[in-house]
Amino acid sequence: MRWFKNKDTLYGFLVILPSLVLLGIFVYGFIFQTFYTSLTDWGRDPAQALSANPQIRFTGFENYRELFGGFVDARFRQDLFNTFYFTLFFILGCLGLGLTLAIVLDRGPKGEGFFRTVFLFPMSLSFIVTGTIWRWMLQPQGGVNQLPTLVGLPRGEFGWLTSREQIWQVSWNDLPFFTALVVGVVLAFVAAAAFRGGERRRGWIATGSAGLLLLWALTLGRTLQPLPFDEMHGFNLAFIGIILAAVWQMSGYTMALYLAGLRGIPEELREAARVDGASEWQLYLRVIFPLLAPITLSAMIILGHISLKIFDLIFAMAGPDNAPTDVPALLMYITTFRANQIAKGAAIGTILLLLVAAVIVPYLYSQLKSEVRR
């Protein structure tokens, strides 16, 4: 009773308790168990993989070492690249298209309600439905590739979901170097911003970390070679089709976000800028876009975590084992439920969780912190 202000707060706690226990088990308990499984050899021995009471041995970080540095798991490493490029272009596409449409709709064209409905309806569909539709749209010899023939041009030849072409190739062995370089440069910018904002302590910490990282990258960065040979990874062109379908489905979401944001900007602000002699273009550049920045950030985070988790869309569009369009979320499913490598599947799941957490945790932190302040 000491902990609770009164009886009703205690009741409240008791009411929410079952939910907390369930989430505790289903989220944190299971994450922990997955992580533990990923440290074992479950699935390595076929006799144990599927038996009712498997005998499992603890092997430490062996699965992770194989994923990042064993030569069998090249597919996982390519999947990391795939996810990176997919996320990048998916977010850019949704933000660009969503913002354009929001600006146009904000100016109140005729039939605004109709257009808004049209742009937003794919949001209500299942990724499976979208995937099925776009699978048919992107058949190598039909669908989109046939469109030019309607105006008398020759048929398109692009292998939408099947192309094996890769561009922007990088060797896996160069990755530690590049990662350290990029993170170092970003930290340097953070440091500069902190000094400018007068936060000296944060500035020094950032400067120190940036310096250490850059020093490491330029001196020892090249000596860390996870693989004994160069393994090239890049952007699979087959992903363009997936990106197209994903943007089709999700850009309505960013449009709705931006539209809400634009409608929230008081007319006086725009008027004031116009009075100052700003052209329409300058108005957007100087007044409106900066005001939309927080929305952009929110949208990036939400879209980013969706794209890291993308599974059903690709499953329905290209099938779970079409390697040119593979991502870690699919590989986890195949590794676990088809190849019986349960521990390795758990390791992929854990890595996926870490990727998502890196995006989400700072976001939740900042959102809730500002809320408490409010």
Binding site: F4, D8, L125, T132, I133, Q139, L257, D312, T336
Partner: protein, 270 residues
């Protein structure tokens, strides 16, 4: 003037981009299987052929029923629990609530692959393996963060004075909920129910791993298997896709306003 022309050009192109797939789905679904070929993809059917729909309907009816049962049950349960949780978090903050709430929210962002293996074993061990009830349980639990969040933000708008007034009248925790908070909750419930309905209806990963027997399959799994098979004649998957999309599409068309509100709520701040 140029601005206006550009504006309508953008709208026209975007509409084309968003509606072309719809056009393709409809004409393909209405073509005879023999009339579907890659080179005539875009031509409307010469003869409108309704058979595909009756075939898809017979094949998918049991799956649609599964989906309905699953979606309605899980939606109602998670909305009820979310409402109570939101009430507690908005009005009866117990010690530690500030720590517990973000921990709850994290649960709605995790990639479910990171819990899939233990979840699968757990559902089997409690005897719900392969059944719809296992799937319902999973959807209720993983639906709790979002429903709690929406209700918490919604109830935060109810003035504390109203709660105080209820207490002065002698109502306790449950009395205030049933007499004051719950009657005000209708719009909140609409938002939550629509959101959960579309989410659960459209979900695939849990459905494909936890429900194995074809008799219990939800529609998304059935559709993915139909379209993922080989040498498919595309009229059937397209008709199936239309059937699978219809419930959520109707919800969106008629209750779109609330749908968007749920959408925006998903970005944490109300």
């Amino acid at each position: 003037m140029i601005g206006r022309a550009l504006q309508y050009a953008i709208l026209f192109l975007a509409t084309l981009f968003f509606l072309l797939p719809v056009y393709l789905v409809i004409i393909t679904a209405f073509k005879e299987p023999a009339a579907i070929s890659l080179s005539t993809t875009w031509q409307p059917p010469e003869r409108w052929y309704w058979e595909s729909f009756s075939q898809a309907w017979t094949a998918f009816l049991p799956k649609l029923q599964n989906s309905f049962f699953l979606t309605v049950t899980a939606t109602i349960l998670s909305a009820m629990l979310g409402s109570l949780n939101g009430y507690v978090l908005a009005k009866w903050r117990f010690p530690g609530a500030n720590i517990v709430f973000p921990l709850m929210l994290f649960g709605m962002f995790i990639p479910y692959q990171a819990v899939l293996i233990p979840l699968f074993q757990f559902i089997r061990e409690i005897g719900l393996g392969g059944s719809l009830w296992g799937l319902i349980l999973v959807h209720v639990v993983y639906g709790l963060p979002i429903t709690t969040l929406i209700f918490r933000n919604y109830y935060a708008e109810i003035p504390d004075e109203m709660i105080e007034a209820g207490r002065i009248d002698g109502a306790g925790f449950f009395g205030i909920y049933s007499r004051i908070v719950f009657p005000l909750s209708v719009p909140g419930f609409v938002v939550v129910i629509i959101w959960q309905f579309t989410q659960i209806w459209n979900e695939f990963l849990f459905a494909v791993t936890l429900v194995s027997s074809p008799a219990n399959q939800p529609i998304t799994v059935a559709l993915a298997q139909l379209a993922g098979g080989e040498a498919v004649k595309w009229n059937l998957p397209m008709a199936g896709a239309l059937l699978a999309a219809l419930p959520t599409l109707l919800v969106y068309i008629f209750l779109g306003r609330y749908f968007i509100r749920g959408l925006l709520a998903g970005s944490v701040k109300g």
